[in-house]
Amino acid sequence: MNVKPDFSKGKNLAETAPAFLSIWEMESYYGESYIVQNISFNVHEGEILALLGRNGAGKTSTLRSIARMDSPQVTHGEIWLDHQPLHTMVSHQASSLGIALVPEDRCIIPGLTVEENLQLAQIAPPIGWSIERLYELFPRLGERRKQEGVTLSGGEQQMLAIARALARDIKVLLLDEPYEGLAPVIVDEIEKTLRIIKEQGITTVIVEQNAVRALELADRAVILDTGGIVFDGSAAEVLGNEELRAEYLAI
Amino acid sequence: YTNEPTGGSVTFGFNVPQTGPYADEGADELRAYELAVEHLNGNGDGGMMNTFSSKSLKGNGILGNKVEFVTGDTQTKSDAARASAKSMIEKDGAIMITGGSSSGVAVAVQGLCQEAGVIFMAGLTHSNDTTGKDKKANGFRHFFNAYMSAAALAPVLSKLYGNDRKAYHLTADYTWGWTQEESIKAASEALGWETINAVKTPLAQTDFSSYIAPVLNSGADVLVLNHYGGNMVNSLTNAVQFGLREKVVNGKNFEIVVPLFSRLMARGAGENIKGILGSTNWHWSLQDEGSKAFVKSFGTKYGFPPSQAAHTVYCQTLLYADAAERAGTFNPCGIGEALEGFEFDGLGNGKTLYRADDHQCFKDVLVVRGKENPTSEFDILEVVEVTPAEQVTYAPDHPMFAGGALGNCNPGA
């Protein structure tokens, strides 16, 4: 782990499978506080990775760092997507490369209707699913298309946030607690959708408190604790490891 | 007495607007002050010291003290002006404060000087109140006032526009505007004019169209603009835009009068000033020896002719210095005595009297008109008439100046 791979030429951390998204020795700060503490992991093309951990473990911060948001600030380390140096970019550039984040607090834009929120995602290329197709996935949104986005119910907002990510042509989908606030039937729906997406070759990183559900869906899992990685391996392994589950996931 | 000079020098405080709309006038005042100090200290060509009727000044400072000065910014606000004057007195040891470009400020600073026990030689201030109800024993004014403007203008107005006129006044809504309106109204009504309306306009107004529009159909055939500075420039420009100058009312040409003119400010009105009557304290085109000497001295140093503002403050500085020289002391009471009832000549306004009763100068007043064919950028006004001092003199207890008392001179600590 201590030899830095040459990302730009396609050589990767895990020599076995070519990594698609690589995080290398990433450190992030909120102002003075050191949050993401030198983490490295790989995500392979087309796989679903579950990123798990307690409250405050740094999951959100990791996703935000990858999506190149202004905070937390990545002060050290590298992030590579498909041989492109993400760490040199800002969020809109990352987005045009195909990174999409469904933020944990949904971030529906006030003042815009449901439809405008979706249209907004389709101004800058590359464009993904059509709005009509998204309405088919979430009929609830189609019904409420003229309503101001922020007045939607909590679950509806969550749907909108996911739909908005799919409205762009994405390579990597970063989901921060996508099931939160959704009725169990809808969670089932979304899980199905994620599987469809996976079949299309899209790579997914999912952060979820409902660890069992996430692990059943995921191929691999990374567990974070106080800003560092404590586990990196297959999802099945976590489900089978009593100790890990008890210590970090309380399941 | 306060700030008695020690150590061979004496300090004046030049308190003028350096920021805000009157900054250019303030700057011209400062130029004249510096020139005066230069002349008092015996440098330069001596300017009006050579033509001044009193010969006590010798070009070696005052009473052997070298003249120094400090400057300050009044911002044309009473508060700021007083703060600035106070610092000159408390910190810099100024023995005399002079300057100002607004009556409000002048009255406020004059009050301060009275309390602090220094002399105030007022600069630009035209309100009757300065030497009327707000007069102070420690304060002196060389500049003319609203009453004098009215008295000087009246005969000319009657001659040029006749005695059967209907006037409409627009007046800046503050002390100076009111006294000017009152004075002009009185003088013109004495001619037989009728005052149709007198409307106060907010000082902060910039677009006067809604005040000008009602003039159109009011039946008035003269518009009197009791405005100064930016107000005047804008109201005059607006009046011309509304075609008032081309208008014929009651069979007569519509006329506009701006009772108090300043060449510096008039430039802002450009073409619109042409043919408009007003009055001024002094103008550089005067051909008496004093004026010529001053224009030469100032023009050589700065490259353009001085304004009336520059002239009046130059005179005030010289008059103060001369009074100190004659009194043989800087004690405000001694200087007051020397100035009271002092008669002089050679400072550009002809024979002049510093009246003892109210510390106001009485001298000829110029009636001027915007020039039709200027030959240079400074050649904006032409002198129509020099109204002799007797015609503009009033009794000290004239009702427009009543109230308030001169009080006693205060030499301070």
Partner: protein, 251 residues
């Protein structure tokens, strides 16, 4: 006669009937859960109870008094506290200060021109706030600005703040959403304990069936603005309509 009696409440948003003739009775000192699909009107109903929204028709009685027409703070002073779906806390203040405010509100009422003694001198308030922080397992974060906590922590803080007010009726809108499993369990225990110790009534909205079934004594299922069924947890679990419209296969 329950402590909270909702009768024939209707609320429209433009063309949408968000609540249609809702009747609900919550028995004193019980835990009553409200579940239902996203957009069913659960949060809207809660908003009508705390004065954030005014129902178009109907009545809401708390302990025999009408809450309609009262401002939120008056209703709160009657003894109703509410936890929001997205955490509402005092982000600029420290965790400790956050906790002190409800303690003051409990003691002093809606407004009091305090003697200007330092806050630290108010021993009873400080002690109470500390105790609450310990109960909520947050004592270590006392000096942290609340805004810089992770979201799970924010939510726990908000619950703590509501409890500190010793309300008679506690309204919880998805209190454990985004909370780590361990903390969810803690919260369940805490709520149970508080309910027994302090003679409190709880109305809870949740999509996490684990929480609902561990806590609730009665459940109302809301769908499209109207109550579908109201029953005990066991009966709800087996209710075919509820399974179809809401629970899906998983539960």
């Amino acid at each position: 006669m329950g402590i909270l009696e909702v009768k024939n409440v209707n609320k429209r948003f433009g063309g949408l009937q968000a609540l249609g003739d809702v009747n609900l009775s919550v028995a004193e000192n019980s835990v009553h859960a409200i579940i239902g699909p996203n957009g069913a009107g659960k949060s809207t109903l809660l908003n009508c109870l705390v004065g954030k929204l005014i129902p178009d028709t109907g009545s809401v009685m708390f302990d025999g008094q009408s809450v309609l027409g009262r401002t939120p703070y008056e209703i709160n002073q009657m003894g109703i506290s509410r936890v929001f779906q997205t955490p509402e806390i005092f982000g600029d203040l420290t965790v400790m200060e956050n906790m002190m405010i409800p303690c003051f509100a409990k003691r002093d009422g809606a407004f009091r021109l305090h003697a200007i003694a330092p806050t630290d001198d108010e021993k009873e308030i400080v002690e109470k706030a500390e105790r609450m922080l310990e109960d909520m397992n947050m004592a270590g974060k006392r000096h942290m600005p609340a805004a810089s906590m992770s979201r799970g922590d924010k939510r726990r803080l908000e619950i703590g703040m509501c409890l500190a007010q010793e309300p008679r009726l506690l309204l919880l809108d998805e209190p454990t959403a985004g909370m780590a499993r361990a903390d969810t369990n803690n919260t369940i225990d805490l709520l149970k304990q508080i309910k027994d110790e302090r003679d409190i009534t709880i109305a809870i909205i949740e999509h996490d069936m684990h929480v609902v079934f561990s806590l609730a004594e009665r459940i109302t299922v809301l769908a499209q603005g109207t109550p579908l069924v109201e029953d005990t947890p066991d009966n709800i679990k087996g209710h075919p309509k509820v399974r179809e419209a809401y629970l899906g296969e998983t539960a």
